[in-house]
């Protein structure tokens, strides 16, 4: 049902684009797509639909694959194993260390696969909406990470007081200690969650907006421009294909960096000294 709504909206937007000869610059308002529930804050939007879809697909894929494990892996099992291997060895084990990494694997693996699939949804035909380009989704993911690494650190260091005390690096001259403490406090409680959420959001929104500019701009130049501008329109379309491939790289990289930084913060939390 949601698919028909999406295609109907796409069609009306195309018609509206086609008959107007003025160029409408794509902006942040293009990311607001309510499907049900009108224009209110509680509307069921297109990113919510994509998020639900990716959760179902991921759950189905990994549960059904891990049920039928074979010594000689099928293509699906190979894909699942490679993904798990990447998160387990390259991210978790190398960053957190062999002692503690196993208990954080479920969180890291879920984060990586969920973010990756939601990012890649931006260039899958007919879905074409990176969920993480709406700020709410990165904020919720970051909130989970934020609570986890603080809880783990308080438990590992034995109390809130000791946790705050561990933020001062040992061996500093006395006059430097208060300055360093304020800086570290800002980093742990303010800069880390802010940058973690905004890095993912900013990259995905900017990347998708760039694709929109090239495609809508190319369409406008091709259909409404004069003869030399039509050439530029073709060029713009060609470039949008190139940028789509580039987007795939960025999408993977952002999922990797998010998981990597989560692992880094967790490693910092479980470490004995600073």
């Amino acid at each position: 049902m949601s698919l028909t709504v999406i295609s109907a909206q796409l069609l009306t937007s195309l018609v509206a684009e086609g008959d107007g000869s003025t160029f409408e610059t794509p902006g942040t308002s293009d990311f607001w797509w309510p499907l049900f529930g009108g224009d209110s804050n509680w509307a069921f939007t297109r990113p919510s639909a994509v998020m639900l879809l990716t959760v179902v697909v991921l759950g189905w894929f990994f549960v059904s694959t891990s049920r039928r494990l074979a010594l000689v892996p099928s293509k699906r099992q190979w894909l699942a194993e490679q993904t798990y291997d990447f998160v387990r060895n390259t991210i978790a084990r190398d960053v957190i260390g062999t002692k503690d990494f196993k208990r954080f694997l479920p969180l890291l693996f879920t984060l990586f696969t969920l973010i990756l699939l939601n990012n890649v949804a931006g260039i899958i035909p007919f879905i074409q909406y990176p969920t993480t380009s709406r700020i709410a989704f990165p904020i919720v993911l970051t909130l989970i990470v934020y609570i986890t690494y603080h809880a783990v650190a308080i438990k590992a260091k034995g109390g809130v007081g000791k946790y705050l005390g561990s933020m001062i690096p040992p061996g500093l001259p006395g006059w430097l200690k208060p300055i360093m403490f304020v800086l570290e406090l800002l980093t742990y409680f303010f800069v880390r969650p802010l940058t973690l959420a905004l890095r993912l959001f900013g990259n995905m929104m900017a990347g998708h907006l760039m694709l929109l500019v090239f495609i809508i701009g190319g369409e406008y130049l091709l259909l409404h421009g004069s003869a030399p501008l039509k050439g530029a329109g073709v060029l713009s379309f060609g470039f949008s294909i190139l940028m789509t491939a580039f987007e795939l790289l960025i999408e993977f990289l952002q999922a990797f960096i998010f998981t990597m930084l989560t692992a880094l913060y967790l490693a910092d939390a479980v470490s004995e000294h600073h």
Binding site: D94, V95, T195, L198, R199, I257, M260, L261, L264
Partner: protein, 69 residues
């Protein structure tokens, strides 16, 4: 000409972190090229540095939106 100068400011503010991230990854590539077995350790350090440096650019993006209006 109309528009918000905040966006121009963000463009200028992104120069510093851009150079910084370039330097970090140049050093990382150099390190891996000289000693490939140190890759895992260097990767962690490089990404920590990148997170700190990129924080400045992201703060700039936030302030561009804050001061836009």
């Amino acid at each position: 000409m109309t528009g918000s100068i905040a966006y121009l400011g963000y463009g200028l503010a992104a120069i510093g972190p851009g150079i910084g991230i370039g330097l970090i990854f140049a050093a990382y590539i150099n390190g891996v090229a000289r000693q490939p077995e140190a890759r895992g350790m260097l990767q962690t350090i490089a990404f920590t540095g990148m997170a700190l440096t990129e924080a400045l650019a992201i703060l700039g993006l936030v302030f561009a939106f804050v001061f836009k209006g």
